[in-house]
C-alpha cells in the first residue's frame, strides 16, 4: 500500500457568515495532497480561496467541512495537537514586513519558535540556542548570521526580512513549509534568490514547499505540481509542465495568456472580476466569464446547458492532470483518440 501523502485535504470547505448575514464559501470543496519533499504551487487570483486553503492546512483556520490529514491522521485542533502539527509544518505569512514584531531583534524573532518548543534541550547535540539561531539564519542565506542578531526589523531590507521569516520557520526543522506570496512584495531582482532558497531547502533538507501565489512564472520556476484555484475550488491540477504548457481549463488558459512573458497563447482578457464568494454562480462557477461559453464552442459541443446548470465534482488529488470543465470532458474522447494515434 502506497505511503499516504504527507499533508492532505479531503473535501475541505470553509464558510464564513458575512456581516450582512449571507454565507460566503471561501473554500468550497477541495481535495489536495502534498507528498514528502514535493513543491506544490497553489495558483489563483484574490478571492480564489488560495490563502484560506493554506491557512486551513496549517490549522490557523478550522474547516467547516471536510478534514486535513497529516500522514493519514486527521488534525487534532487541541492546543497540543496543533503544536505537534506546527513542529512539522510551518508557514511564512504574506505580509513579510508586518510579520516581524518591530520591538524584537532578529535573534529573538528566530529564537521564538525554538523556545516555544523547547528545542534546545531536545537536540541532544549540545547545541545552544544561539547555535540553532545562527544555523537557521545561515540556511536562509543570511551570512554571517551573527551580524544580524541584534538588528531590528526596520533596519532590514525587504529581502532580508523575508529570509529572517524563513529562518524562523526553519529553526523548527519542519518537513513542509507553506509560503504565501513569498516574493510578490519584493523587488524583481531579488526574486530569484528567494526562490532559489526554497529550491535549496528541498534539495538539502528534503523539505516540501507549498507556495501560494498569483504568479504563474513562479510556479514555472520552482514547482513540481500546480493547482489552479477559482472561487474556492481547484479547477485544474497536474504537473507544472502539463498545466502550464498544455492548459485545458478556460480559466487557466486565460490566466496564462495575459502573462506578458507568454508567447504561445493569444491574450484573452476576461471581463469583470471574480464574483463575491457569497454569490457563487450556478453550474460551473466560471461560466459567466468563460470565453469558450461566450464564443459558442460550448454550444457546438452540446455542453452549454451543463455549463450553466450542472455543478462539477470536486477534482480528485490523484496526481493526474485533472480539469473541472464540461467542455474539456466532452472533448476527452477526442483527446484520447489523438493520444492513441
Amino acid at each position: 500500500m502506497a505511503e499516504p501523502p504527507f499533508l492532505e485535504a479531503r473535501d475541505l470547505g470553509v464558510e464564513f457568515t458575512t456581516r450582512s448575514g449571507a454565507s460566503a464559501r471561501a473554500l468550497d470543496g477541495v481535495h489536495l495532497s502534498v507528498q514528502r519533499g514535493e513543491i506544490l504551487a497553489i495558483v489563483g487570483e484574490s478571492g480564489s480561496g488560495k490563502t484560506t486553503l493554506a491557512r486551513t492546512l496549517i490549522g490557523l483556520q478550522a474547516p467547516t467541512s471536510g478534514e486535513v490529514l497529516l500522514e493519514g491522521a486527521p488534525l487534532k485542533y487541541s492546543m497540543r495537537g496543533l503544536r505537534a502539527l506546527r513542529r512539522r509544518v510551518q508557514m511564512v505569512l504574506q505580509d513579510a514586513a508586518g510579520s516581524l514584531n518591530p520591538r524584537q531583534t532578529v535573534y529573538e524573532s528566530v529564537a521564538e519558535g525554538i523556545r516555544l518548543h523547547g528545542l534546545v534541550d531536545r537536540s541532544g547535540e549540545q547545541r545552544s540556542e544561539a547555535d540553532l539561531v545562527a544555523a537557521a539564519l545561515s540556511e536562509a542565506g543570511l551570512r554571517p548570521p551573527e551580524r544580524l542578531f541584534l538588528r531590528y526589523p526596520h533596519e532590514l531590507s525587504g529581502g532580508q526580512k523575508q529570509r529572517v521569516l524563513i529562518a524562523g520557520a526553519l529553526a523548527l526543522r519542519p518537513e513542509l513549509i507553506l509560503a504565501d506570496e513569498p516574493v510578490s512584495s519584493l523587488d524583481a531582482s531579488i526574486r530569484g534568490e528567494i526562490l532559489a532558497l526554497l529550491l535549496k531547502l528541498r534539495q538539502d533538507l528534503g523539505m516540501g514547499v507549498v507556495v501560494v501565489t498569483h504568479d504563474l512564472g513562479l510556479a514555472w520556476n520552482i514547482a513540481d505540481r500546480i493547482a489552479v484555484m477559482y472561487l474556492g475550488r481547484v479547477v485544474e491540477c497536474g504537473t507544472t509542465e502539463e498545466v502550464l504548457s498544455r492548459p485545458r481549463h478556460p480559466y487557466t488558459k486565460a490566466l496564462l495568456s495575459v502573462v506578458p512573458e507568454i508567447d504561445y497563447l493569444e491574450p484573452v482578457v476576461l471581463t469583470g472580476e471574480i464574483p463575491d464568494p457569497s454569490r457563487i454562480p450556478d453550474g460551473c462557477r466560471f461560466h459567466p466569464r468563460c470565453p469558450q461559453l461566450a464564443n459558442g464552442e460550448a454550444d457546438a459541443a452540446g455542453v452549454a446547458d451543463d455549463c450553466r446548470t450542472v455543478a462539477l465534482p470536486v477534482l480528485p488529488a490523484d496526481g493526474n492532470h485533472r480539469v473541472a470543465c464540461h467542455l474539456d470532458a466532452a472533448n476527452e474522447p477526442m483527446r484520447a483518440q489523438r493520444a492513441r494515434e
Binding site: I58, L60, M79, L82, R83, R86, R87, Q90, M91, L93, Q94, D95, A97, G98, S99, L100, N101, P102, R103, E112, G113, L116, H117, Y152, H154, L165, G168, L172
Partner: protein, 283 residues
C-alpha cells in the same frame, strides 16, 4: 526600539523638551521642598508675616490669611499636588491597562462585560461621583487618590482596548500563533510590549488630569484639611474672599502652578505619543 533611540527621537521635539524641563523643575522643587522652604514657615502657629499682605518686604508673593509666605506654601503644596496626581494615575493605569488588555484581547462574554463596565465608568460624571465617594469615605489624602483612580481608569482602558484590538490583528501576532504560542505568550510577548508605548504616553496625560482633579476636589473642600496643596490654597483663598479683596497673590500663583504642571505633562505626553506612533516607526 531601544531607550537610546527613544530619547534621540524625543529630543527632536522641542515642545516635549520644554515640557520635560518644566516638569523637572517642579519635581525638583517638590523633592527639595525642605531645603527650599523652612518646614516651620508653613505652620500656622509659627507664621511670621502679616495677614494677606501683598508681595514685598521679604515675601516674594505676599502672605496668606495666617501670615504664611505664599512662596513657601507653593513649594510645599507641590508635594501633595504632584504626589496625589502620580499615585492616583498609577492606580488608574494599572486598572485601566488590565481591563483594556483583557477586553481587547479575549473574546466572548467576559470581554464584553469588561467593555460594558468600561463604558459605564466612562460616562459617569466625575465631580458628582467624587463628591459622593469623598463624603462616604471621608476627607483624607488616600481617599482622594482612590476617588481619582476609580473615576480615571476608564479612559485609559478604552485607549488600551482599541490599541490591543489593532495589534491583535497584526501579522506578527499570528506568526507567534503559527510558531506554537498560546494566548498567554501572544499577549505578554507581543501585544503588551507593543501596547506599552501608548500606555506611557497616556500615563503622562493622565497625570495631568489627575492633578487637575485633585485641585478641583480640594478646591471644593473635599481634600484633606490638614495638608496643603495648590487646590487647598485656592479653596482657602476663596474662603477668605481673596477675590473680592483683590488679594491676587493668593489666587493667581497656585492657579498658574497647576496650569504649568498640567501643560508640562501634556507637552511631554504629546511628544511621547508622536515618538511611539507605530506609523512613524515603520518607515
Amino acid at each position: 526600539m531601544g531607550a537610546k533611540r527613544t530619547w534621540a527621537s524625543f529630543r527632536s521635539h522641542r515642545s516635549g523638551l520644554f515640557g520635560l524641563g518644566l516638569l523637572t523643575f517642579f519635581i525638583l522643587i517638590a523633592i527639595f521642598a525642605p531645603l527650599l522652604a523652612d518646614p516651620e514657615s508653613i505652620e500656622v502657629t509659627k507664621a511670621t508675616g502679616g495677614v494677606l499682605e501683598p508681595p514685598g518686604g521679604g515675601y516674594l508673593l505676599g502672605t496668606d490669611e495666617n501670615g504664611r509666605s505664599i512662596v513657601a506654601l507653593l513649594i510645599w503644596g507641590s508635594r501633595i499636588s504632584l504626589f496625589v496626581g502620580m499615585l492616583a494615575t498609577l492606580i488608574a493605569m494599572v486598572i485601566g491597562t488590565l481591563v483594556g488588555l483583557a477586553s481587547g484581547f479575549f473574546e466572548g462574554w467576559p470581554a464584553r462585560l469588561l467593555y460594558r463596565l468600561t463604558e459605564w465608568f466612562l460616562v459617569i460624571p466625575f465631580v458628582p461621583l467624587a463628591i459622593v465617594l469623598a463624603t462616604v469615605l471621608g476627607r483624607s489624602l488616600i481617599n482622594i487618590v482612590i476617588v481619582i483612580g476609580i473615576t480615571g481608569w476608564a479612559s485609559t482602558a478604552m485607549l488600551i482596548r482599541s490599541q490591543t484590538l489593532s495589534i491583535r490583528e497584526r501579522p506578527y501576532v499570528e506568526r507567534a500563533r503559527l510558531l506554537g504560542a498560546g494566548r498567554w505568550h501572544q499577549m505578554t510577548r507581543h501585544v503588551l510590549p507593543n501596547v506599552m508605548p501608548m500606555v506611557f504616553a497616556n500615563t503622562t496625560l493622565t497625570v495631568a488630569l489627575a492633578i487637575l482633579a485633585e485641585t478641583t476636589l480640594s478646591f471644593l473642600g473635599l481634600g484633606d484639611p490638614t495638608r496643603i496643596s495648590w487646590g487647598t490654597m485656592l479653596d482657602a483663598a476663596f474662603g477668605v474672599g481673596a477675590m473680592t479683596t483683590g488679594a491676587w497673590w493668593y489666587i493667581v500663583p497656585p492657579g498658574v502652578c497647576v496650569v504649568l504642571v498640567v501643560l508640562a505633562f501634556t507637552l511631554v505626553g504629546q511628544a511621547l505619543e508622536e515618538v511611539f506612533n507605530p506609523r512613524l516607526r515603520e518607515r
